[in-house]
């Protein structure tokens, strides 16, 4: 469904403009990391790309087409705080499969769960898992739908190291399988580990969009330099 072209995108929230006329395009597969300080508009941008929020003006074109339900179903969004149903781990997985009319036997489901090392708790209540386990389950649920584009909104924020590592491994696996990943984070070292290209967002504007190596070694904007060096950018 790529390339993605974003033209002059604007979005205004309850307390004023959040995305202020953004232009960029994402081409092939690979992992695009969206970075920027708090309040830059990263999560909002991700929701706009997925159609959870309606744009005020401008365009989002996936391979030349505006968002529609069929396109949205080829994407999957992983929330910062996983939304799990009040059911067992396995039933959470089955729920999304059923919604998409994908039939899968227990073995397939358990295999999926074993990818995130949750097969041993398949019949436990999903809500009783630890934070890291919950996010891994949400990720397994996303993967079950075989999305062409995986949108991830700070999926590893405040998770345990094991879960963080597992998520990063899966991101790299997905890239290897030609899944496009758009990954929001403000963890610089994590971005280092997973990014192919970086979109640097600041106060609702794209200040840089370059390859990861360029961004980390020769950031162009002052704000990006300050951000990378750990100075807080307001």
């Amino acid at each position: 469904m790529l390339p993605l072209i974003v033209e002059n995108l604007r979005f205004t929230g309850q307390h004023g403009p959040i995305i202020k006329g953004v232009n960029f395009s994402l081409n092939d597969a690979g992992v695009t990391v969206v970075m920027g300080p708090n309040g830059a508009g990263k999560s909002v941008l991700l929701r706009l790309l997925h159609g959870l929020l309606k744009v005020n003006s401008g365009q989002i074109l996936w391979n030349g087409t505006g968002l529609n339900e069929a396109l949205r179903k080829r994407q999957s969004l992983l929330f910062q705080r996983p939304v799990l149903l009040r059911r067992s781990v396995l039933a959470n997985l089955r729920f999304v499969l059923k919604q998409r009319h994908i039939s899968a036997d227990d073995e397939t489901c358990l295999n999926l769960l074993s990818r995130v090392q949750l097969d041993h708790v398949a019949y436990r209540s999903a809500r009783h898992l630890s934070g890291g386990e919950q996010q891994r389950l949400a990720l397994a649920r996303s993967l079950a739908l075989k999305p062409e584009v995986l949108l991830m909104d700070e999926p590893a924020a405040s998770l345990d190291p094991v879960s963080t590592k597992m998520i990063e491994t899966i991101v790299r696996d997905q890239r290897a399988n030609n899944t496009k990943v758009i990954f929001v984070t403000h963890d610089v070292s994590q971005a280092h580990r997973v990014a192919d290209d970086v979109l640097f967002l600041h106060h609702g504007e794209v200040l840089e969009h370059t390859s990861a190596s360029t961004f980390f070694e020769q950031p162009q904007s002052t704000q990006a330099r300050q951000y990378l060096s750990g100075e807080i950018v307001v």
Binding site: A91, R94, F95, K98
Partner: protein, 278 residues
């Protein structure tokens, strides 16, 4: 209504719930049944528990009793919500028939009203035999009196007596004169709680269990006569009225057998109702 991701078990529970529902709402109605709109005294004193099984074994007809105040019973019967009316307010009953709601009124039986009060007798009416005098003394001494205040047969009788005693109770309402606005039994409970005088039919008083130390303070005045009447609800007015069975019940009540059954009913070895059908 639920998606199939819920366990199979719950499908069965929905089915069994529906099955249960159909059992629960299944109406239970006897083949030959009439509804008797009745005053409370006849029901609460246990008279119907004595009469109705006899009537049923003779005719096979079940009588369902709705026991409310006379005023409400007449109102319900006017709406057609009953086949037979048995109450004790002759003037209102005759009006009911005159308005075409009932076919004809018959005297069935009588008993009498009594005045009940606390043993201290603050209005000093024990020993009197004139109820009008007694009512005047209650009013003049501002002794607390509890009225039904619900347009029932007893209430209508009480209003007759006050007006004969030339007492304006409406003006005294809320002071010594208190209207409970409820049935005879509840009104007796209130009167006993307030140490007040109260007018009641004798049957209810005899069968009443929460008498405390209250007693009959006045009885025997001819004006305390309490006549019960029975009326068939007019089938021309309400075409679903079960006239055949209703008529059978009335005829039985007025017959020798019915009248003897009324005499035979006693509570605490006292006869409660005295048949007087003509």
């Amino acid at each position: 209504m639920f998606n199939s991701s819920m366990p199979n078990l719950s499908k069965y529970s929905v089915l069994s719930m529906l099955a249960l529902l159909s059992v629960l709402v299944h109406p239970v109605r006897a083949a030959e049944t009439i509804i008797l709109q009745s005053t409370t005294s006849t029901a609460n004193s246990g008279l119907y528990d004595h009469l109705l099984p006899i009537f049923k074994s003779a005719t096979g007809i079940s009588v369902n009793v709705v026991a409310v105040g006379t005023g409400q019973a007449i109102k319900n019967a006017s709406n057609g919500d009953g086949d037979v009316l048995l109450v004790h307010a002759k003037a209102a009953e005759e009006e009911f028939v005159a308005a075409g709601f009932g076919v004809e009124r018959y005297d069935v039986m009588y008993n009498d009203f009594v005045v009940v009060g606390p043993p201290e007798d603050p209005a000093r009416i024990i020993g009197l035999d004139n109820v009008i005098e007694a009512f005047s003394q209650i009013a003049n001494s501002f002794s607390v009196f509890v009225s039904r205040g619900d347009n029932s047969g007893t209430h209508k009788k009480e209003m007759e007596l006050w007006s004969a005693a030339k007492v304006d109770v409406a003006a005294a309402s809320g002071t010594w004169y208190r209207e409970s606005g409820s049935g005879m039994g509840s009104t007796l409970n209130v009167a006993i709680g307030m140490e007040a005088y109260v007018l009641t039919d004798r049957a209810t008083w005899i069968s009443f269990k929460n008498k405390s130390n209250f007693r009959v303070v006045l009885e025997g005045d001819a004006r305390l006569y309490n006549q019960y009447g029975v009326i068939l609800v007019n089938p021309e007015r309400h075409d679903h009225v079960n006239a055949t069975a209703g008529k059978a019940f009335i005829e039985w009540l007025l017959s020798k057998g019915g009248q003897e059954a009324i005499s035979a009913y006693t509570l605490n070895k006292k006869q409660l109702f005295f048949p007087n059908a003509r």
